[in-house]
């Protein structure tokens, strides 16, 4: 017997609320369908009524976690339109904040993955350690979430010696903690067994469906805008693109943990090689008529902004393609032939944080139209039962 399960659409914690409709046979998902557009904020239209400067703070509010990603993407585009060359120290600080943001986003994600896998103490410890990087960001920019460090033509605040030292000291703690989490991953069999083999996405599918970010890299495709189309100072910073070839949620976890260590290396390099000089140049108020596409590797994947100017102090058009959108098609593929109980995990693995709040899921009998509402908690309970009931995948190995 086939059932249809709708999930969503309203979910306050989501950046992009979606409605998922899944056709299930027993516990197995046979088909999944996605509907978008439930939380249209009119942001792109609003951007047309604000000046270039005001739009920095608007694009920052596209996302709470990758706020710096969106402003950098936007500001880079505008700088190209205005033919501005930001000073090198400014670019270094911009990159530094970008990498700190990646650290905080990946630590947050690790916690969420632990939570979804029923490993709540892991969730609390990673989130406690995430506070360290949040504090660094707060000392640099004056705010924990919306850093507002970017301005057109550079950054708004400079770093002093004391801050550099503070960051390096905190980094040592973070590195030590991340090593511990990596060690834990290798040694905690229930955690690895819960993640291994869930949400399989083959390399071919990942490419065909245009997956981005860690989701793509976990399927063995070494694509990273920072390497392929370097912006800011990534061309001169040594780092590696992290991949995994298990193509499942475990692989996505591994990619993110490996990226954490890359981030620490990048941050250290940036701080040790910080050039001196000004952090920003003065920007004109108007931009000549032109258009530009700006790419940025956000923690979740490739972020694209298209900006068109018409000679005034406001953009004529701003189009934003956030990374989560790029991953939706791949998510549907991952859901197919998986278990209902794995939905929270698979969704969490592309990092849209779909599961962090209470939400109702209704099961619809396709033939009789009969509906049954189950809460997210019950769904999670189910997820844990399946995990507990499974014979442990003892052969599952941590591939790091």
């Amino acid at each position: 017997m086939k059932f249809q399960i709708p999930i969503g659409p309203q979910h306050p914690a989501l950046k992009e609320p979606i409605s998922l409709r899944m056709t299930v046979e027993g516990e197995i998902i046979r088909d999944a369908d996605l509907r978008l557009g439930y939380n249209h904020r009119g942001l792109e239209k609003l951007a047309e009524q604000k000046t270039w400067i005001q739009n920095i703070y608007l694009t920052e509010r596209i996302c709470g976690i990758c706020s710096h990603s969106h402003t950098t993407c936007y500001v880079q585009g505008v700088e190209k339109l205005m033919e501005l060359e930001p000073p090198r120290r400014g670019l270094y600080i911009r990159t530094l904040v970008a990498e700190l943001e990646r650290v905080h986003s990946h630590l947050l994600w690790l916690g969420v993955a632990g939570h979804e896998a029923g490993f709540d103490s892991f969730f609390m410890y990673t989130w406690r350690d995430r506070e360290i990087v949040m504090d660094i960001l707060e000392t640099i920019s004056g705010n924990r979430v919306h850093y507002g460090i970017n301005t057109i033509g550079g950054v708004r605040r400079d770093l002093d010696e004391q801050q550099v030292k503070h960051i390096l000291d905190s980094l040592a703690i973070l590195r030590q903690r991340s090593e511990y989490y990596q060690h834990l991953g290798t040694n905690e069999p229930s955690f690895v067994a819960r993640l291994a083999g869930v949400g399989y996405l083959s390399r071919e599918d990942a490419i065909a469906l245009c997956a981005v970010g860690p989701t793509l890299r976990a399927s063995g495709v070494p694509m990273d805008v920072r390497k392929d189309d370097p912006y800011a100072v990534y061309a001169e910073v040594p780092f590696e693109v992290c991949t995994a070839d298990t193509c499942d949620v475990l692989g996505r976890t591994v990619v993110r943990i490996k990226e954490l260590f890359q981030c620490y290396n990048i941050i250290e390099y940036l701080l040790k090689n910080l050039p001196s000089g000004p952090v920003a140049v003065r920007a004109p108020r108007r931009a000549k008529p032109n258009e530009v596409v700006s790419r940025y590797e956000a923690p979740r994947g490739e972020n694209i902004h298209y900006i068109k100017s018409n000679g005034t102090d406001k953009p004529e058009r701003l189009k934003v393609r956030a990374p989560t959108l790029g991953n939706y098609a791949a998510t549907l593929k991952m859901l197919k032939n998986g278990f209902i109980a794995d939905v929270p995990l698979i969704f969490a693995a592309i990092d849209p944080c779909i599961c962090c709040a209470e939400r109702a899921v209704s099961l619809v009998d396709a033939r009789s139209g009969q509906e049954k509402i189950i809460s997210m908690n019950a769904l999670k309970q189910l997820s844990r039962q399946v995990a507990a009931g499974n014979a442990r995948k003892r052969e599952a190995e941590w591939p790091l």
Binding site: T51, I53, F122, N143, H146, H183
Partner: protein
């Protein structure tokens, strides 16, 4: 592989201090350049309106109360302010500054409004209004 790899860490934490502080009895210190709420130092304001123009939230309102006396009124609608400090960056004379308060909630949004009435200052701007 060993079962319960996390247990030593869990046990260690039984004897540690909690990671959180006992707010509101104990408060964390905010960093030096924390972005609290903007405030005006009227003796420095030359009414160039750069802050009003650049504020992304349209939280600043400058009106002339008496043109002849060069008397102006500035209202900062703190209920709209997004605490971005762009006004501080735009101000050519340092008349706009940020404080470090963060406990600014109120039962009535109108109480969040801040108002100054002043005569336009005659100070030389340190720089041109940065974004003009």
């Amino acid at each position: 592989m060993k079962i319960g790899a996390f247990i030593p860490e869990l046990l260690r934490h039984l004897f540690k201090k909690p990671a959180t502080v006992d707010y509101p009895f104990q408060k964390l210190e905010v960093p030096r350049d924390f972005r609290g709420s903007p405030f005006l130092r009227p003796e420095l304001c030359i009414v160039c309106r750069a802050c009003e123009r650049d504020c992304p939230a349209e939280a600043i309102e400058i009106t002339a109360t008496n043109e002849a006396e060069k008397r102006f009124r500035m209202v900062i609608h703190n209920d709209r302010c997004i605490h971005c400090a762009q006004c501080v960056d735009s101000c050519p004379t340092d008349a706009m500054q940020m404080d470090t308060r963060f406990e600014i909630s109120d039962y009535d949004r109108h109480n969040l409004k801040m108002e100054w009435e002043y005569i336009r200052a005659v100070v030389k701007p340190k720089s041109e209004p940065k974004t003009s």
